[in-house]
Symmetry: C2
DNA sequence: AACAGTACCATGCAATACAAAGTACTATTT
DNA sequence: AAATAGTACTTTGTATTGCATGGTACTGTT
């Protein structure tokens, strides 16, 4: 049980929340999302992101369209669906409750 | 992918943080910890807590002593070790960074 | 002595993030 | 046009975690 592993474990379950949030601002393809997260100090790699996008799509939270690129193969641009927006709101609530609970527990020393 | 599962996944990795935090305030045995968490709206069950305590003890972050009880079998009172305190500080940093990153990503709509 | 209550422990499962390797398409270089 | 580099997407296997479930052991009461 080292700190690196703990970091990884703490991230569990928040990525779908972050992905939906990012897409609720505007459509994007995988590399856009990775860049967006990286700029907020949340590193995600392809092997993590692609399966997640597929799962979110299969659950109806996202859909996608192919779009040509000037500098490489075509890209899958993902778009959040109305059902995805609803789910996102629930995730927000869950996240806020969790942060609130953790703060309550860990700030008792003050 | 339902909301209940997402809730469960978001909790992953924060329990050890909460346990160490709770014990840094004062020694406690399992039921104390469960009560403490429950009062902060973070439900933990025995099947989760006991293995976690054992793992934290095996890693040197906790130790315990047996203590008699007036109303039942003896209890294992856990105490955080100096190494545990150090690890707790690292977990605090990790948690704060994570919350900060998620906020940055999910509050872009404002 | 039998029972209920409390406390601790062990086993098996589902879900996730990630590493690693692979496939496919495009543009550039030779 | 063939080979190469770069971009984008996909698949497979692994370690870790939270939890449900069932079980063990000890105490006090009836």
């Amino acid at each position: 049980m080292d700190i690196e592993n703990s970091k990884a474990q703490m991230r569990k379950g928040i990525l779908e929340f972050c992905i939906l949030s990012t897409l609720s601002v505007g459509d994007a393809y995988a590399s856009d999302i990775i860049e967006s997260m990286k700029s907020s100090k949340l590193i995600v790699v392809e092997g993590t992101l692609y399966p997640l996008l597929t799962r979110l799509k299969n659950d109806g939270f996202l859909n996608y369209r192919w779009e040509e690129s000037k500098s490489g193969p075509p890209r899958k641009y993902y778009k959040i669906t109305p059902i995805g927006e609803t789910f996102l709101k629930e995730l927000e609530t869950t996240w806020n409750e969790l942060v609130s609970a953790v703060n309550k527990i860990t700030k008792k020393n003050n």
